[in-house]
Symmetry: C2
Subunit: 357 residues, 2 copies
């Protein structure tokens, strides 16, 4: 059977002040009326029913995730005692699924990305699930780039090895870190590089095998608790083991080392919405490149991102600002200084405003 | 007897969105906990008691003014059917006072200015009231300038004609419009020019006489209703006459023409708080010249004016911005574009946001 694993462990620092520790990005309605996690789940329902969708989240967000996805059975909301990046999350989900269904094929999807062309996406998802079912390969989705984006990692494509329906499937030569602008330009022009979407499809046994080869310590930890999964002892067992699990991403831990990786290109208007600045590519722009999610009147402004859904916002004579208003905190940040938001959060903590984080 | 006339007719466009048509600047607590009108009144109480303080305001704000000054007797809140600038306001108050007390001496004070050195101010006020009691002169307060401000009008001083206590009193040579920077510099260096504070002291009969000479049309209108003032017919009479009264300032109408004007210099940290930008001279500045009336964390910012009293405000990498937050409207404006706020208000009106004005 096919399953989806929604990774909802984000901690929500980059979308402050809209996101908070208790309300990370996946629980925000960044685009449209639905939260990102709800949109992620609804997007795959034509292919995978609620009964086979699992969400993995941190203890602090579990209640809110359950609230967003009331259709999920209680056993399918897997709670991590603390975030340990994506590899432990994927491993835990794989062991849990294989305990229920040895032939489980799982689609691993971050809870906090946007896809505009939903039909094209779930068509591709069906193809991927079909290929993955053999258990030979780990599949990743590569997004066809429409610009030389330096904020994403890239997948280097090898030769085409399959065609499923009329959809080509490629071998993966390797993964590339976020490139400099010249390299990004070269990547895009070559046609041989796709954006790494962080969405994967594989048979649960296949990723368990890859983890055993690439990260044996993680594999050992999971083997110790595998027997307790899907039993009343599950939460206790996870808690006891998670402390000693190293935080590492599935990309670093497995994808960059495994040999049997294939890539399915998708062209679905995907956006990982990594920062406020990324919303200029998501929301509708005015003629000066401003975007806003509320009522706004702008005079002589350009390139601004304005998230002030609860009030009229008037901007006069400013360029490239991020403006985010919430009931208890307002942030105004130059777009090219967005990385300073972390410093800001440190300062707030130091000054006793922990309750605003 | 001595009286105060508090001119509270401001319409409150320059402090949008904190000020609205129904809540102009004089009803804001721009500095400290008190509204400006309340502070203006409390400042003079050591010299003039509540029972001899009159407020003149527009119909739209009368209830709020009464709410701010509950100690005033009902007859001492004079309501203008519509604003007609300061000359009609002063004339009406003078006729009303002279009807109660032919020897009334009146201090005319705008409701929307700040004075930090209150004791020095009311000392000067006492001196002015004493000089004005003779009925020979119209007195104005000139503020000793501490910078070549181009946003104020100036008073050109003539020779000293009196000393009251140890306080010199000067003849006024004339009034000067807001100067260019070079002229302002020359004014300040000469020591012969003071800022025009718009605060005046005179005997009611003296200003009535000056108005008769300088603006006979206004004088005629007032003579027609003088008999109705301080009677139950007062409001009706004012309403019937005010339509035909020309809007004109007391400066243009009288002060620039009358010959018997004296000036008392005051050095009291006065500020007319004419715009958001002026608050950099009122509120306490940080080391980068930012001012804020609420909790704020600033990283790499300078010269910002931040009025967001109800929430934490974080600014990153911005200079010379005005930021004003209210429950239903947020404004962010470059300091040198503050004059565009009027255009903004027009746009809001056109687009159906009249309720926000």
């Amino acid at each position: 059977m096919v399953y989806a694993v929604i990774m909802a462990g984000g901690s929500g620092t980059r979308f402050w002040p809209a996101s908070r520790r208790r309300k990370p990005k996946q629980l925000l309605a960044v685009s449209g009326a639905r939260t990102m996690i709800r949109a992620t789940v609804e997007r795959i329902l034509p292919v995978i029913p609620f009964s086979r969708i699992m969400a993995v989240t941190a203890a602090a967000h579990a209640d809110k995730v359950r609230g967003q996805l009331p259709e999920l059975s209680p056993g399918m909301v897997l709670v991590e005692p603390q975030g340990r990046n994506t590899a432990p999350c994927v491993a835990l989900a794989a062991y849990k699924l294989v305990g229920k269904d040895p032939d489980a094929v799982m689609a691993v999807l971050p809870a906090d990305h946007l896809i505009k062309k939903e039909k094209e996406f779930y068509d591709a998802l069906e193809s991927a699930l079909e290929v993955a079912a053999t258990g030979e390969h780990l599949l990743t989705f590569g997004v066809v780039p429409n610009r030389p984006e330096t904020g994403y990692g890239y997948i280097a494509l090898g030769e085409q090895v399959l065609e499923i329906g009329s959809r080509p499937v490629y071998r993966v030569l390797g993964f590339r870190e976020k490139p400099d602008p010249a390299t990004a330009q070269r990547y895009v022009e070559s046609g041989q590089y796709l954006w790494n979407s962080g969405m994967f499809v594989w048979k649960a046994t296949a990723i368990i095998e890859a983890i055993r080869t690439c990260v044996p310590r993680l594999s050992d930890a999971m083997e110790r608790i595998a027997g307790a999964l899907n039993t009343p002892d599950e939460a206790e067992a996870i808690k006891a083991t998670y402390d000693e699990v190293d935080p590492i991403s599935i990309d670093y831990a497995v994808m960059e080392h495994a040999r049997n990786i294939l890539c399915i290109p998708i062209d679905v208007e995907w956006n990982d919405v990594g920062s406020w600045a990324s919303l200029v590519d998501v929301w509708e722009r005015d003629e000066c490149g401003n975007v806003a999610d509320g009522e706004a009147v702008l005079i002589d402004c350009s390139g601004c991102v304005i998230s002030t859904p609860q009030k009229m916002t008037a901007l006069i004579g400013v360029d490239d600002l991020i403006v985010v208003d919430t009931p208890d905190a307002l942030m105004i940040c130059r777009k090219d200084k967005a990385q300073e938001v972390r410093k800001l959060q440190e300062m707030l903590k130091t000054r006793g405003y922990d309750h605003l984080l």
